[in-house]
């Protein structure tokens, strides 16, 4: 059995569906600004954080789920009423969180490998 399942989604609805399909599992979600055709995100912090987060994924718990979620383009994200901000209460991208728990790392916190590892390995 694979250590964890990675799912790539785009937008709020797809994110919610993916989560509800995996109810009861330990779900980690990484929110990033959309990537363009060249695979580059409009969000510079997301570009910086992604390799750090990916570098710690070998520490994900057995049987967990890792959702890589592109939130949308920059204008969508800047709108304070977008679904991610309103309902999921996200305040910035990148955000790495453990779904259903208060465990969350926001923006520069995602640059720190030790914090990412802490989230993946501690209860």
């Amino acid at each position: 059995m694979a250590q964890y399942e990675e799912v790539k989604v785009r937008g709020y609805e797809e994110f919610c569906k993916t989560v509800s399909d995996r109810a009861g599992k330990d779900i980690f979600a990484y929110f990033s600004g959309d990537k363009d055709q060249q695979g580059q995100s409009w969000c510079p912090d997301c570009v910086k954080a992604e390799p750090v987060v990916r570098g710690e994924m070998n520490h994900l718990p057995e049987g967990s789920v890792f959702i890589y979620c592109q939130v949308g383009d920059r204008p969508y994200w800047k709108d304070p009423n977008n679904e991610f901000k309103k309902t999921l209460k996200l305040t910035g991208v990148p955000t790495l969180l453990r779904y259903g728990t208060p465990q969350k790392l926001v923006e520069e916190q995602c640059f720190k490998a030790d914090l990412v590892r802490m989230m993946f390995t501690e209860d």
């Binding site: 208060p102 465990q103 969350k104 720190k112 802490m118």
Partner: protein, 516 residues
Amino acid sequence: MAALYSRSRLKLLLRSALHLSNRTLTGSGGKFDYDLLVIGGGSGGLACSKEAAQLGQKVAVLDYVEPSVRGTKWGLGGTCVNVGCIPKKLMHQAALLGSAVKDAQKYGWQIPQPVSHDWATLAESVQNYVKSLNWGHRVQLQDRKVKYMNMKGSLVDDHTVRCLSSRGKEMTVTARNILIATGGRPKYPTHVPGALEFGISSDDLFWLKETPGKTLVVGASYVGLECAGFLTGIGLEATVMVRSIALRGFDQQMSRLVTDYMQGYGTRFCWDCVPKKVEKLPSGLLQVTWTDSRTGQDHQDTFNSVLWAVGRAPETGTLNLQQVGVELDGDTRKVMVADDERTSVPNIYAIGDIAQGRPELTPTAIHAGKLLARRLAGLSSQLMDYSNVPTTVFTPLEYGCVGLSEEEAERRYGKDKIEVYHAFYKPLEFTVAERDSSQCYIKVVCERDGDQKVVGLHFTGLNAGEVTQGFALSLRCGLSYAQLRDSVGIHPTCAEELTKIYITKRSGLDATVTGC
């Protein structure tokens, strides 16, 4: 010349230079694992460890929560975050909102009455917030390079601590300095049959998934009164059983106003009563038998929950303190400390609830922790000033105070050497809401002579904590009655009444404030 600086010589110099800098990195000359080991991750322990780490010390924190009798446990942050100040204040707020909803109708809001309260919703919100604080502390410790271990610590010798995890993993850690900040836990009246089996404490109350229902709160300390207060406020039937007096240690006139308000608010009081036994009925209800010490008669009633709020005991049991020479106070069993928080063992310190003679308050533990860190890093010699520490009791009618009670001032100065100014006032918010303000009161205790230095300030009313904070600062700056009278109030507020106060107790005149 060149021979002196041969490559091998340089290599040797470089290696010893690196060795020296390595020693500086560990900061303890390589002798100890840590510069500072903190046992207890609560208000005091965390503040000290974070400050020490910021100042370049190598720090580790041990935090471990022994489950309550009921099995309740919680995360990093100590009593305040998990089972004290934070959940208490949130639940108090829930109760205040209940009153606000009732008042709202008079202010024009069309709210269908009666409004009901759901415990599960409140509990979940509070518990989630507390968990976010646990996480926040965890991130902060990691960020500041403080090593965190979820393990139970006990002293082996004055520099060595044995750490034990819940799974039985064991390790030993050494440190140049050790800080004991393990706090306290609620006491159970073990001599009362059924107390342990059927009662709960404040450790459990905030983590209950289901409503506590009709509750008997035994104990009239601020823990007991605050809990009974918010339980009443959210619509539950709450009774407070008082052995002798309420709010021991606080100004007793103010204490009376607090409990009078609570009685008017709907909380029942059993004065001069002591519990005799607790039994569980087939229905699941708890039957409590108690003795009225005035009459000697026994009484009985049934409750859904019994909350013991009969005092707190210091968490020293498993620390192995005495074998290492750390002395405890004979009565309280708290750790004896000097002005610089040092225990009887020179490199072992204690702050917070565990330390003898200290206020059992978060801000003093935090402040003392930070100052201690600075002293340990050799950057300061400033000691913690424990005098004139303000506090607030968050009962339905809040009570904020700083300095001496009237009784204590009389004891220290003599009755004829103090002047007590006082006033009964009515918050504007109560007028339209047609609420009774009989217990809204202010008392300023001053030296009688000269400018009349303020030695104690007491306030019951709304937002008492917010009102008292600023005045507490002025007290530390040497506030006199003359200055108080000379200051201009903010209108319309309750706090401004402090600047207008002028009736003395001595005059015997009616102290009720009239109009603007």
